[in-house]
């Protein structure tokens, strides 16, 4: 029988330490049945179930439906971590809890946020976007005007250039995936392509850059090549269907698919076309990366191919040996993710993970890998490739080129940026998960 043959195929281990063929995911119930009949290691049948009973909520009238629904009161732990709750004079950040989420879309309230002067309270009626400089016709737009332009919707990630910076530490910092990789999120962004607006302003051929500036307190500004303006830069007005969140730049932000988060200027109010870059504080100082020889990278722009496992991850203890699904996200600023491999033995052997559709360019791609944990020590890793032929590097490869700290910094520190290396989670015999270097 062809089906039973597939049962057997899908039970085949594809790599060491219990990684199973990703085809097992095609019909999980079938796999369970097959596993039991095949007498595979690990009990697939739990203890006898309690008799089924009704909860009180099933026997009473429920609550009034609210105008704007928020998560169940039982989900109060699914929140961002904030690192400047008192809004003292410095940057403020909120990180996405990847270990508690699924799929590829980050809920709006859980999208990561970094603000350099608090979250501005912008009246959308009074907000203006002006495009000037090396244009033929400087124009100013209201939000109402922009909302009448042809719009496009695209799903894509935004990632802070400093996401994953704790992995520059010389020793693995014991923190969860939210603390290590929480400065990346993925949404459906809807707005007007910048190229559409530039058709109306006209472009002086001398223009090589545009400088985007926000209406926030520090008037944050970044220089972006005109290439990106004509390619896929968007003035985004909507995030997952609703107007973008205050932390995301309400009422409008620049969205540059695949480019360093800080360049995706929030509260966008001014675009200046220029011959030269501004060499702004954020591009010429903060988001320039020092190299071991004392030189520094400037204009890194690209968020390179990367993946990490969100489940299991530190804090999500495995309760017993048996079947688990390893899953996480992979993404690349270059384009689509083409392959993700997973290892359960610290990189000695690898198996292909299933890539869940849709697999979109410059967007989170959810990968899944069936795993039968035998209760012994394991080191879980994921590694991604993109359609540009780029392979996610190991941590050792990045450190060899970029350096590491001499002692562990605070988990909130940013020793450098643009870390896209492999993350390793060690599972011990108690099922507890730790961050390790492997």
């Amino acid at each position: 029988m062809s089906i039973s043959k597939r049962h057997n195929d899908s039970l085949q281990p594809v790599a060491g330490n219990g990684l199973l063929d990703r085809r097992a995911l095609l019909g999980r119930g079938v796999v369970f049945a097959g596993a039991v009949s095949a007498g595979s290691a690990g009990s697939m049948i739990g203890a006898a179930a309690e008799p089924l009973v009704d909860g009180p909520w099933s026997n009473e009238v429920g609550a009034v439906i609210p105008p704007y629904q928020v998560a169940s009161r039982f989900e109060k732990h699914v929140v961002r971590t904030v690192d400047n709750p008192d809004n003292v004079p410095r940057n403020s950040r909120a990180r996405t809890p990847h270990h508690l989420l699924q799929g590829i879309i980050t809920p709006n309230g859980l999208h990561f946020t970094i603000c350099h002067g608090g979250v501005p309270d912008i009246d959308p009626e009074k907000h203006r976007l002006v495009i000037h400089g090396l244009v033929k016709r400087p124009l100013v737009f209201t939000l109402d005007a922009l909302a009448r332009y042809p719009m496009v919707s695209r799903i894509g990630f935004v990632e802070c250039g400093g996401n994953s910076a704790p992995l520059f530490s010389n020793e693995p910092i014991q923190a969860n995936v939210q603390a290590l990789h929480g400065l990346a999120s993925c949404s459906e962004w809807t707005g007007v392509l910048l190229s559409t607006l530039l058709e109306e302003t006209g472009i002086d051929p001398k223009a090589k850059w545009f400088i985007a500036e926000g209406a926030d307190s520090p008037r944050l500004h970044r220089s972006v090549p005109m290439k990106k303006a004509m390619d896929d830069a968007m003035v985004a007005l909507y995030q997952n269907g609703e107007r973008i969140q205050p932390g995301q730049g309400y009422p409008m932000r620049l969205w540059l698919p695949g480019y360093e988060g800080n360049m995706n200027v929030k509260y966008l109010r001014r675009i200046t076309l220029t011959e030269q870059p501004a060499m702004s504080y954020y591009e010429s100082r903060t988001y320039s990366q020092v190299l071991p020889d004392g030189k520094a990278y400037r204009f890194y722009f690209l968020q390179e191919v990367k993946s990490f496992i969100a489940n299991p991850s530190p804090g999500l203890t495995l309760k017993e040996p048996g079947y688990y699904e390893i899953s996480g996200v992979a993404y690349s600023g270059t384009g689509r993710v083409t392959r993700v491999m997973v290892s359960a033995d610290g990189g000695k052997s690898w198996g292909d993970a299933a890539l869940q559709e849709p697999v979109l360019p410059r967007a989170f791609t959810r990968f899944r890998m069936p795993w039968r944990w035998n209760g012994g020590p394991a080191v879980l890793q994921s590694r991604a490739w993109d359609e540009g032929g780029n392979m996610q590097p190991t941590r050792a490869e990045i450190i060899a080129h970029r350096g590491q700290t001499s002692k562990p910094p605070s988990v909130l520190a940013f020793p450098s940026q643009h870390f896209n290396g492999i993350t390793s989670w060690a599972v011990d015999t108690k099922g507890e998960v730790k961050h390790v270097y492997a």
């Binding site: 332009y149 302003t201 307190s217 060499m279 504080y281 010429s284 520094a296």
Partner: protein
Amino acid sequence: MSTRNAVLVAALLALASSTAVAAEGPNLGQPITEKEVGAWDINAMPDGTGLPPGSGTSAQGAPIYAQKCAACHGEGGKGASAGALVGNPPITGIESPKTIANFWGYSTTVFDFIRRAMPWISPRTLTNDEVYAITAYILAENKLIGPNDVMNAQTLPKVKMPNADNFIIRFPDRI
């Protein structure tokens, strides 16, 4: 009309209509002059473009710094809750602090960032003269200019920053 002429006319008509379509965008932006943008235009560029009239010296900047900046950046720019503004440690790797003297590539960035974003709790409350004076104070304390040098739209862009030539464009093909 010959066939050839008919084709030509059709082609011209098609061209005219496609031009008309291109001009039929929403056109909902309101024209504005650069002068009207002026109050918002605070970009000070590396070549000096956008630097406003005004001037200042380190001596003028010292008391303004003490009053407006020292609470966060420390006395004499030594750093406190916010980063140090004075100091020139060698850059030897990712743990080296990036200071104005050891890292920043352009003197205009100092003026630009003070004018646009400082003081953190009350940005854009300084006059242009005050921004020039604080800029002069910071540059002089870092020994990047002389103690009596006047900073203005002409002199500031000429200040050579020691680390200016140590940057590598990461992905040149994206520019």
